[in-house]
């Protein structure tokens, strides 16, 4: 019973926001229950255009493009790096692996300033390159580590047999390791999607044209333009922005929780 009470208390604010997004704005301030007394879609219609000539369909499309490219890039580059660390013998392996673990602990603030200057020089302001290139280059060591842990757990006999049969490393990688690593690759992909979808600082730094904005930037813009008075439309768009995460959670809850669990355990 206590557990259920705690669970309800934990999720209440989010559920309340979803309910409130279907209420006339005046009602939001008096109704603390979950269900609207009067149902309306007006907030969604009003919120859809945070400013003239900018609609949330555009913002959703932008966020989706960035997230999908980030997922593809991160899964490919992390799996390749992890295969090398887990299965190949090469000079400096231990050193590089230790460096990779250290990068996980590095606070991102120490990189944003020089990276910003670098990408500015490249002329990448108002492009999506600063948001996806780091993913294509497996900059987040956490995911490399996650994949290494998984590939180490695969039976070596299979790929050793394949090598004796004359397969090259690319073939072993593509035909054996990649198919067997699907769960870990899916976990990496899903977390990358969520991180990219929620990312606020990156787009805030690199995107200055509203037409390029992502969903979080659109929400923030809405907040700025309306002095935080338009809670109804804001809640409507906030609730919509969480939908992809809810959907991922519903379909992949097991992969996510198992992925999280393995990181903390030897």
């Amino acid at each position: 019973m206590l557990l259920i009470a705690l669970l309800v208390a934990t999720l209440y604010p989010v559920l309340w926001m979803v309910g409130a997004s279907f209420e006339p704005s005046a009602q939001i301030f008096v109704n603390v229950g979950l269900l609207p007394k009067v149902w309306t879609f007006a907030n969604y219609q009003r919120g859809w255009y945070p400013m003239q000539n900018l609609s949330f369909s555009r913002l959703f499309a932008n966020s989706l493009i960035i997230a999908c490219v980030a997922v593809l890039g991160n899964v490919c580059s992390c799996t390749m790096a992890a295969y090398a660390f887990a299965r190949l013998q090469f000079r400096l392996r231990g050193t590089l692996f230790a460096i990779m673990l250290l990068t996980i602990m590095l606070p991102y603030q120490v990189l944003i300033i020089p990276q910003y200057i670098l990408f500015l020089r490249f002329g990448w302001l108002n492009t999506y390159l600063p948001l996806v290139v780091p993913r294509l280059l497996a900059v987040d060591g956490f995911f490399v580590f996650l994949m290494v842990q998984f590939i180490r757990g695969l039976p070596r006999e299979i790929d050793e047999a394949a090598i004796i049969d004359g397969c090259g490393h690319w073939q072993v990688f593509l035909r054996i390791v990649v198919p067997l690593s699907m769960p870990a690759m899916a976990t990496t992909g899903i977390f990358t999607f969520i991180n990219s979808w929620n990312d606020f600082l990156g787009p805030l730094l690199y995107l200055t044209k509203p037409v390029m904005y992502t969903v979080p930037l659109g929400l923030n813009l809405f907040l700025d333009l309306n002095e935080a008075s338009q809670w109804g439309p804001l809640f409507a768009m906030s609730a919509l922005s969480l939908v992809p995460i809810f959907v991922i959670f519903l379909f992949f809850e097991r992969l996510l929780t198992e992925g999280i669990a393995t990181t903390g355990i030897k």
């Binding site: 580059s77 290139v133 730094l205």
Partner: protein
């Protein structure tokens, strides 16, 4: 966590340097070009004055001196951040461990509870949740309406310096689910026969907790502590959105990452922001190092 690659069966293997570096190429390029290169560049920058418009000018230790002696806002952001970390990290640890222990007793619907408690961890970093927090803890927000039902007159929790930071702490603690899941996984690895033996010896529940569960779980507690510290020091989005980028009333929400952003990208004082970033790296390194040193005394690695 293993500190490095293990060598299973030390039989000499042929080395595959060239092919290995092909596989590593994207990661290496990122390491050199986007991580280590910029890292060193920002160290150099921290000894200069640089506003993006003119070339950086060498100012030696001026930035570092200013932090200690000439910048009340910096000291304020340090105090705010330390307070934020010191409250939220232990709270998350205690709550998530307690819940993991309760859930581990094998009740029905465990996976459902586990999943639903985990959900906030996926949502909490988003702007949407910061927007919600801004409403709930505002003067005319949901919390005050709930309090009004029991005839308590609330205040603007976000608008008063005394409480603003705690709304951010609460948002962090609200995301305890991920930590809880790691604890649950750790609990499942503890051999049951330890408890059976203890029960035969007549050890009560709380003694079993103190003498079996906590020691056996100590590597996981350690992992969650270090990770929690590193993450809490870097929180940005919630502080930015809830305080509208300002740092809140009387700078009470001026988390380190937010102040660094203001200096670097609002005032374009890139050298100073780089110096701040390096101070943060050193602080996190010292804290992590201290955690690893202390681990020798309380973390129990079973073989």
């Amino acid at each position: 966590m293993p500190a490095g690659p293990r060598h299973p069966g030390a039989k000499p293997r042929r080395r595959d340097d060239r092919i290995a570096y092909l596989f590593l190429a994207p990661w290496l390029l990122g390491l050199v070009g986007i991580t280590v290169g910029p890292l060193l560049a920002s160290l150099g920058l921290s000894f200069t004055h640089y506003d993006l418009l003119s070339a950086p000018s060498w100012t030696g230790l001026t930035n570092y001196r200013r932090m200690i002696a000439g910048d009340p806002s910096f000291l304020q952001s340090l105090v705010v951040t330390v307070l934020y970390v010191a409250i939220s990290v232990p709270s998350v640890l205690v709550i998530s461990l307690a819940l993991a222990l309760v859930l581990n007793r094998g009740l029905r619907g465990l996976t459902l509870y586990r999943g639903l408690f985990y959900l906030p961890s996926l949502l909490g970093g988003s702007v949407a949740l910061a927007v919600l927090w801004r409403q709930v803890f505002g003067i005319d927000g949901m919390l005050n309406h709930v309090l009004a039902l029991v005839h308590i007159t609330g205040q603007s929790w976000i608008g008063s310096p005394g409480t603003a930071l705690y709304t951010l702490v609460l948002l962090n603690v609200w995301q305890f689910g991920a930590t809880m899941i790691i604890f649950l996984a750790g609990l499942r690895q503890i051999p049951q026969d330890l408890y059976e033996a203890a029960a035969v010896d007549g050890a009560r529940r709380w003694r079993q907790l103190l003498q079996i569960t906590i020691p056996m779980l100590s590597p996981v507690i350690f992992f969650n502590t270090v990770l929690g510290l590193i993450r809490a020091f870097q929180v940005f989005t919630s502080a930015y959105v809830i305080s509208n980028g300002t740092g809140g009333p009387a700078d009470s929400m001026l988390l380190y990452a937010l102040y660094l952003y203001q200096q670097g990208f609002v005032n374009y004082d890139m050298g100073y922001a780089a110096a701040m970033a390096w101070v943060l790296v050193v602080m996190i390194a010292v804290l992590t190092g201290a955690a690893f040193l202390s681990a020798r005394f309380w973390v129990h690695y079973a073989d």
